[in-house]
């Protein structure tokens, strides 16, 4: 794997240690339904955190808040010491540069080639020269095993291939934080492993902070430094994967794990 194309190879001490993401007293309601209830949690730089829990427990909402696709009703969210909420749209744009997201439904741009899906944002947002963006995109496509698909349209790819392009597209922005929202849930079963292996590689070889919502418990066990168990908008249990998966303390965690494992 060509490591020069990977984002954030420079491991500065202040980046790989200390707090990167902080949520304080974050509340999010949809109508009468309180999805997140005065939630506090933080993630240290370089850590891989997996959010597990029953559907509707607020895991995905956290990722969407961090990507600014939703606004919290109350509370503050800080990334790398800069406010994401409350903040002006302009400040938010700055903070958002550090965050990338991969979606359940891939959300590639169907009107662009695979290559341009990846170069579009580096060129228009980061101001990278076109040549450099193309070169880096090709490196990333090589990394995700799709070097021969530069000129293909997303519709010509399988779900697994599309998701790998989406991962390359997110990495092209050199994010400090990568949000993974049930990235294998929409895939045919035989395509899941390829995507998860790619994410394992990225987790192992980069210092990107990863927040991951997934139902793939083996994957969660492999990559996570910390697992957070959600229920009804609250973190009811947190700890390293060995502990959560082997000796959970909370009844709800035990119930949930016995249902999904």
């Amino acid at each position: 794997m060509p490591t020069d194309t990977l984002p954030n190879p420079e491991k500065s001490p202040e980046r790989s240690s200390g707090e990167l993401i902080r949520l304080e007293q974050v509340t999010k309601r949809f109508g009468d339904n309180t999805v997140l209830d005065h939630l506090d949690f933080s993630v240290d730089a370089g850590k891989h955190v997996t959010l597990i829990g029953p559907s509707g427990s607020g895991k995905t909402t956290i990722l969407r808040l961090l990507m600014t696709l939703l606004k919290p009703d109350e509370g503050t969210i800080t990334v790398d010491g800069q406010k994401l909420f409350p903040a002006t749209e302009k400040e938010r744009r700055e903070v958002r540069k550090q965050i990338g997201m991969v979606f359940q439904q891939f959300n590639l741009f169907p009107n662009m080639s695979v290559l341009r899906n990846i170069t579009e944002a580096p060129v228009t947002v980061l101001g990278m020269s076109k040549d450099e963006a193309v070169e880096r995109a090709k490196g990333l496509l090589d990394m995700v095993g799709l070097a021969d698909k530069c000129d293909a349209r997303p519709a010509q790819l399988s779900g697994g291939q599309q998701q790998r392009v989406a991962i390359a597209r997110a990495l092209a922005m050199r994010p400090k934080v990568l949000l993974l929202d049930e990235v294998t849930s929409a895939l045919d079963p035989e395509l899941v492993a390829g995507v998860l292996d790619l994410l394992r590689d990225i987790a192992r070889t980069t210092d990107i902070t990863m927040l991951c919502v997934t139902h793939e418990m083996n994957f969660a066990r492999d990559i996570s430094d910390q697992v957070l168990m959600f229920d009804s908008g609250r973190v009811i249990e947190a700890g390293p994967p060995e502990k959560i998966f082997s000796e959970p303390e909370h009844d709800r965690t035990r119930e949930f794990l016995s249902a999904v494992l």
């Binding site: 990507m67 600014t68 696709l69 744009r93 958002r96 540069k97 965050i99 990338g100 997201m101 979606f103 439904q105 959300n107 590639l108 741009f109 169907p110 009107n111 662009m112 579009e120 944002a121 228009t124 947002v125 597209r169 997110a170 922005m173």
Partner: protein
């Protein structure tokens, strides 16, 4: 009723002139309706009533008053305020503006049809709003609605004879002029009737080819 081929051949030079004008109206009017309709559609998405309310009123007004009235208004009333254009320019603007109030609805449907995930991906990549529109949303929206826009071009073709009312010599205008000068009505009117069918048919063939291409 007698059919006189010599009247047909006498009319043909006038017919070509008229055809050229009709096609000019159609092409330019379509471009105006595509451009202005898009502007209306985008303005209707501005998140303040100070914009959407007046745009809504103006476009409802244009859509719900007859094109013929609008043509007369632009041609006879505007000059009273010292705004004068040629008859053809006035006609193109009027027909384009009139149809823009229809194409705006087509664009709206196309824009709303773009999956919300596309907006979310654009946000996740931090694309500026303008770039999100021009590179992501509009290309997909327009691709979806290109056949519907094409249908309005065919509708517009059938409204082009209205421009005769403001002295534009398109096909019907040429036919009428010829008829009145030669007292032969059947031949010129039949010729332009056939011409309208042929143009419509060719346009619908082109449209179907376009639809097939966009389907992939």
């Amino acid at each position: 009723m007698k059919w006189d081929w010599s009247a047909v051949s006498d009319f043909m030079p006038h017919f070509w002139d008229g055809l050229l004008v009709t096609l000019q109206i159609l092409v330019l009017g379509s471009l105006v309706s595509f451009g202005v309709g898009l502007v209306w559609a985008l303005l209707m998405r501005v998140p303040t009533r100070w914009v959407t309310w007046p745009v809504g009123v103006v476009t409802e007004f244009i859509r719900n008053t007859p094109l013929l009235v609008q043509l007369f208004f632009l041609f006879y009333v505007l000059p009273e305020w010292n705004i004068t254009f040629s008859a053809l320019t006035t006609g193109v603007v009027a027909i384009g503006l009139h149809y823009s109030t229809y194409t705006m609805q087509v664009y709206r449907a196309g824009i709303e049809g773009v999956p919300v995930g596309q907006w979310e991906a654009a946000t996740a990549l931090n694309l500026p709003m303008r770039r999100t529109w021009t590179a992501v949303i509009l290309p997909q929206a327009i691709r979806r609605v290109a056949p519907a826009l094409g249908n309005y071009v065919i509708s517009m073709l059938k409204d082009t004879p209205l421009l005769m009312a403001i002295t534009v010599l398109e096909m019907l205008g040429e036919a009428r002029l010829f008829s009145q000068q030669n007292f032969q009505f059947t031949e010129p009117l039949t010729v332009i009737g056939v011409a309208f069918i042929v143009i419509s048919y060719l346009a619908s063939l082109a449209l179907r080819a376009l639809e097939r291409r966009l389907a992939h």
